[in-house]
Symmetry: C2
DNA sequence: TCAATTGTGTAATCGATGCTTACATTCACA
DNA sequence: TGTGAATGTAAGCATCGATTACACAATTGA
C-alpha cells in the first residue's frame, strides 16, 4: 500500500499528497519488489558476485539497513532473485513447448532442449544463480526446487512417450535423461564460464552451435 | 621503528642458527609455496569463496599484508592455485592415457573422458576454479591456457584418428568434440553444483553413472 | 669485511561489505 | 483515536582486500 493512497477522510495535516515532490516519504511503498528488481539487475551486470545488499539499497534510494527488514541475509535476497529467474525460465520453456507438435514426442524433446539452451545463452548470469547451489540454499526455496523438478519430470515424460512410440533406439531412459541434462547444462555452463571466447551474449552462432550439438545428441539416441 | 632493537654491531646479537627454536625467524623461508598450499586447502574446504588472503596468511603464521609481497591480489593467488590444480589435472589425464590401448583411438577417447570425469568428481572445488573464468583471468595464466589447449588438442587428434580408422559414423568432428566436451563438463558441473544430491564426493555410484553416460554418448557416435 | 642494495616481513590504516542494535516514523486496526 | 505492528534510519561491529611506511635480513661487490 502506497502512503499517498490511504484512508484518512477528514484531516488536512500534511498528507502524502501535499508533500513536496523532492521529499521522499518515510516509507518506500514496495521496497521488497524494488530490491528484487535492483538485485536482478546487479546480478545481470556483474554476475552472482555483483549482488551487494548495500548497492541494492543504494539503487532503491534507501538506507543500508533497510533491505534486512525484507531479507534476513544477502543469501535470502539472492534466493528471491533466483526464484524470479526460475519463474521466467520455466515460463519461457513451457511457452516454447506449446508451439511444438503434440504428436511427435522426440520433436517436443528437441524443442525443450532448444528452449532451455536459448534461455541459458541469453540470460547467462541469471541461469548461473539458479543452477548452482553455491549462491543460495535450493532446499529453502520451494518454488525453485518445485519448478525445477517439474521441468525434469516434463522431459522424463516426453522421453517416455518417444520411447513408447518407438522413436528411440536406447532403452535406459534414465541414463538418456541424465546425459541429455549434462549435455545442455554443460553447453550452457561452458558459455557462462567463458569456454567460447569468440562468442558474445546473444550471438547467433552460439545458438546455431547449440542447436547442432543438440541434434547430434538426438541423432545418437534416435531410432533409424 | 623499534628504538630498543637498533643495529648495534658489537653485541652478543643472536644469529639465526642460535635462535631459540620456538622463536620464528623474521623471514619465513618459502612463504609463496606455503601460501599456495594453504590456498589450495582453503579452496578445497570452502570452494572458491573459501579462499581468503588473510586466512591463508593466518595459516602460514604470517601477517595479513605479507601475502601481497608474493601475490599482488587475491585473484593472483587464486591463479596460482588454479595453475597447480591444472597441472595435477593434466598429469592425471595423461597418466591414464598411457594405460589405454595405442591402436584403438575410440577406446583412448573413452579413457580420456573417464579420466576427466574421475578427476573432476574427486576434486570438485579445484575443478571448479580452473574451469570457470570467474575466479581468475585465464588469459593471464599461460600455463593454464596452454595445458587446457593441449588437452583439447589431444581429444581432437584422438577423434580424428578414430574417424580415420572408420570407428565413427559422424562426420563433423568439430561438433562431436564440442558435444563431448559439453557432456563431460556438464556432468562434472552438475556434480559440483549439487544436481546429484544423493551422491557424496568420491561416491562410487557417481563414477559408475559418469561412465554409463559417457558410453551412451560414444555409442551414439560410433560406427556399428 | 662491511656497507649498500634488494627482498621480505610487520604495523597501521583505508574503504567496502554483511549484519545487528537502538531508535524514529508511519500504517493498520480495534 | 490511540496503540501495536510494520518498516524505515542511524550508528556501529567485524571481516575483508588492499596500500603505505617502516623494520629486518640475505646477498652482493668493492
Amino acid at each position: 500500500m502506497r502512503p499517498s493512497a490511504k484512508r484518512l477522510p477528514a484531516k488536512p495535516r500534511r498528507p502524502a499528497a501535499r508533500r513536496a515532490p523532492t521529499q521522499k516519504p518515510y516509507h518506500h511503498g514496495d521496497l521488497r519488489r524494488v530490491l528484487i528488481d535492483a538485485a536482478l539487475q546487479l546480478v545481470g551486470e556483474g554476475g552472482p558476485d555483483g549482488l551487494s545488499v548495500r548497492e541494492a539499497a543504494r539503487r532503491a534510494g534507501v538506507s543500508p539497513g533497510a533491505p534486512f527488514r525484507h531479507f534476513p541475509s544477502r543469501e535470502a535476497l539472492m534466493t528471491a532473485v533466483a526464484e524470479e529467474a526460475q519463474r521466467r525460465f520455466r515460463a519461457e520453456i513451457e511457452a516454447a513447448l506449446t508451439e511444438a507438435p503434440a504428436d511427435d514426442p522426440l520433436a517436443r524433446f528437441r524443442h525443450l532442449g532448444l528452449a532451455y539452451l536459448r534461455w541459458a545463452m541469453r540470460n547467462p548470469t541469471h541461469f548461473e544463480i539458479l543452477s548452482s547451489r553455491r549462491f543460495f540454499d535450493h532446499d529453502k526455496s520451494v518454488q525453485v526446487s518445485r519448478d525445477n523438478n517439474e521441468l525434469i519430470d516434463l522431459t522424463g515424460r516426453t522421453l517416455a512417450e518417444a520411447f513408447a512410440k518407438g522413436q528411440l533406439r536406447v532403452t535406459d531412459l534414465k541414463q538418456v535423461q541424465i546425459a541429455g541434462r549434462a549435455l545442455v547444462y554443460g553447453f550452457a555452463r561452458m558459455n557462462i564460464d567463458g569456454h567460447f571466447p569468440r562468442w558474445g551474449v546473444n550471438d547467433a552462432e552460439a545458438e546455431r552451435t547449440a542447436e547442432a550439438v543438440l541434434d547430434l545428441f538426438i541423432a545418437g539416441i534416435a531410432q533409424r
